[in-house]
Amino acid sequence: MASIDPSQDDVGIHVTPYPVIEPGHTFGSVTDKISSLTLKRRTPLGWFIGFGISFAFANILLFAIAYLVLTGIGVWGNNIPVGWAFDIINFVWWIGIGHAGTLISAILLLLRQSWRTSINRFAEAMTLFAVSCAAIFPLFHTGRPWLAIYWLFPYPNTMNIWPNFRSPLMWDVFAVSTYATVSALFWYVGLIPDFATLRDRAQSKPFKIAYGILSMGWRGSARHWARYEKLYLLLAALATPLVLSVHTIVSFDFAVGIIPGWHATIFPPYFVAGAIYAGFAMVLTLTIPLRKFYGLEDFITMRHLRNSAKVMLATGLIVAYGYMMEAFTAWYSASEYEGFMMKNRIYGGPYWWAYWLLISCNVLIPQVLWMKRARHSTVVLWIISLVVGVGMWLERFVIIVTSLHRDFLPSSWAMYRPTIIDFATLFGTIGMFVMLLFLFIRFLPVISIFEMRTILPQAEVKEEEA
């Protein structure tokens, strides 16, 4: 990362209207600008308003969960045959959103895309918070979450039995917990030098001590940097397949079963693409207002937004390919169950509207992004990112609810109706997610300061003239 190789970077090849960082910045200005967001004494009023609203929603989550725990899982709308509904929809949705963070951070690092630098920290935080939100759903779907460890993790328990490693749900436990752990560590490791920066800038003793502990005594030694850089790359190389594996395994939750509408071999790549799609949509949904209100246009430039839009377009097309192949294979397979499922989903069943809403949100509307002008308008991008966010939620709704509500036995067909608690939990997690982001913005550097230094032109070591 130290040497900026323009030829490796897609921008470097041709002159682009939007650079990664606006010109005129120095090491000092970058450091001061970003660290001041965290270190300034006064918290802006807007922060309090935003935090307050999201905190209120987070409390709704708290109440919804407390009520659920006290009363039982019956307060949710899911019941046979739709035994899996909002809980898994929201779980998959949140996990998917989390993926963009790791993707931006790890894959773009491996691809040496320097535009990642100003948004990776934010994206990683988003990953962590999204995974936290996601974990709530399966945990509370167990009904007795205080026993969840007992059921989910292999440890020598008093029952002398072990989890069933042949079950994709068990794979999920491993995948999500590994993902949460590695993302948290990756995030923390990335923060260490910035904690040192904050430690050295902080005015008050408690903050100095707090950031001092978090920085682990980082002093910027060149030997330390060498190992640190190597580790950071290696972690990125590990996180990249990890992030793909997580959503692959989430897709296995469905695909290794034999429910028509779930049992499709394309699920792994199609879920991964969908996750990235939703994740980038969430990145845009959040960064567009953030850069506006915090005046970060110098660091998060139109280039970032435009590239995110392109990623969305590409992953959106892969998702569309998935829909097409599912429909085609349902016909091609000549299986009456597959055929019925697809017909029920598209025009025969009571949830046809969900399918066509999904197609509109995920396939039709985002095609606007083919147009350059659309990619360059923050308003259009923001609207489309919201639409895609909704669309990806609907995708999981369609996959889960429409596949289940008419099972093999027509006598057990039933409709699914979410309850008020279902909605409270969903919107509550959104509140919790935003609340955590507000806390993060206030207390931690939103942009990786040391990596921003590396992409300044001054950072290059000029060759000695022999």
Partner: protein, 430 residues
């Protein structure tokens, strides 16, 4: 820097090495020999000298055909990806990819034996009326999709799309070379980029259905949603491994080009190769795990044909040499920078691709009617040998045509804006 730029734009510096002529000549000889052997093999069966079904000869030809068409189409896709995303790694490989795509018209013609096989052998079981009559699944799709005229029509359509795209991209690429006007170069670049976006979409659709038509319908009752992606990434992998072979061949045989292709380029290409190997393994595992776990009769039979009566060893071979070995080798950063070692890995991958296709194609309804004892053994050996002769037969012709195409243009896209950056010596002192 300025001196270097001038050095770069000197078109004659990058004319193809003489070795290319030798390559073309040898290839043609090998190719013709291979095709003749294949015809002889087919004749042995057709004249009932050896008791194996004629479809084996056609299947073998299909293997060779799919393998080499894959290189052309895969090259087209990687080239379009490069046009979309840029990057120095693609600039230096562009001409190899372009030359590979220009073989597509030849491949269009070379499809004819497969069409013949469809009509005159059991190559595709769904062409046989009794199969249609007996199988509900085949009858279901017979009218609207799986019949000979529509099959041929789609074949024409795929090639129309591919040839159309490659003709445009090749034309503009050449125009970039011949002009010196930076605005026109820029315009051509934008054009290529604008075509590549929809081009990738078209590529995805056509390859998916080509993969279904040519390979999946060998077992007409079987289906897998990921099949198109699996073949796509397989073709991409083949194309990349092939390009790396050619690139390393240049580095090893021509000092001048050795300077052009720097270790960092090889390193990047090696990493891409690793990525493709991993994605291939990922898709293959996904398909296997889902079908294995579901264990439904209409799906699992495909794997049962390929994991029993000896084929499990072929499968193991594929896992080891198509994934495990290249994966472990390519983890080493130093190896990826050395042409002499990288070419070996690329050749290993190409070989493994052939074995993989063999595993996909050959086990489908093995026909050795009524043979016993030594004759049966001989029939098997000859029949399976054909599968390994065919890639050389088709490949020889393909390579001959490719080498001729490669010669017609400078080996580097001299009009590309990124060329200067791509060729800049990063680590050396100059």
């Amino acid at each position: 820097m300025a001196a270097h730029a001038a050095h770069v734009t000197d078109a004659r510096s990058y004319t193809p090495p003489a070795a290319l002529d030798r390559l073309a000549g040898t290839s043609l000889l090998v190719g013709l020999a291979g095709l003749i052997l294949l015809v002889i093999g087919g004749a042995l069966s057709a004249l009932h000298v050896l008791p194996f079904d004629l479809s084996h000869a056609f299947r073998a030809y299909l293997l060779g055909y799919v393998f080499w068409t894959g290189i052309s189409v895969g090259s087209m896709a990687i080239m379009m990806l490069h046009h979309l995303s840029g990057g120095g790694w693609g600039v230096v490989l562009r001409r190899i990819f372009e030359a590979a795509t220009r073989v597509l018209p030849l491949m269009f013609v070379l499809f004819i034996p497969i069409a013949l096989g469809m009509y005159f052998s059991k190559l595709y079981p769904w062409t046989m009326p009794q199969v249609v009559a007996e199988s509900h699944a085949v009858a279901h799709k017979h009218a609207l999709y799986l019949n000979a005229p529509l099959f041929l029509l789609r074949w024409v359509f795929y090639f129309a799309v591919w040839i159309g795209l490659t003709v445009l991209l090749n034309k503009w690429s050449l125009e970039q070379d011949t002009t010196t006007d930076p605005r026109l170069r820029r315009l051509l670049k934008d054009r290529m980029q604008n075509v590549s976006g929809p081009g990738i979409v078209l590529f995805g659709l056509t390859v998916t259905f080509a993969a279904i038509d040519w390979l999946m319908t060998l077992e007409p009752e079987w289906f897998s949603t990921i099949w198109g992606l699996l073949i796509m990434v397989g073709w991409g992998l083949t194309a990349l491994a092939f390009a790396i072979c050619i690139e390393s061949y240049f580095v090893l045989n021509n000092a001048r080009l050795g300077e052009v292709y720097q270790p960092r380029h090889l390193h990047d290409h090696g990493k891409l190769l690793l990525a493709f190997v991993m994605i291939w393994a990922y898709f293959s595992l996904s398909q296997f795990l889902i079908i294995w776990s579901g264990n439904l009769p209409e799906e699992i039979t495909w794997y049962l044909h390929r994991l029993r009566s000896g084929w499990q060893y072929v499968a193991l071979f594929v896992v080891l040499f198509h994934f495990a070995l290249p994966f472990v080798i390519l983890l080493s950063a130093n190896l990826k920078k050395r042409a002499g070692q990288l070419i070996l890995v690329a050749l290993l991958v190409l070989g493994a691709r052939i074995i993989d296709l063999f595993w996909l194609i050959a086990p489908t309804h093995i026909v050795f009617p009524g043979a016993q004892g030594a004759t049966a053994g001989a029939a098997r050996v000859i029949a399976y040998a054909l599968y390994f002769i065919a890639p050389f037969g088709v490949g020889g012709v393909w390579l001959w045509y490719f080498a001729r195409q490669l010669k017609t243009r400078p080996l580097l896209p001299l009009g590309d804006e990124g060329l200067e950056n791509a060729l800049e010596q990063i680590h050396g002192h100059h």
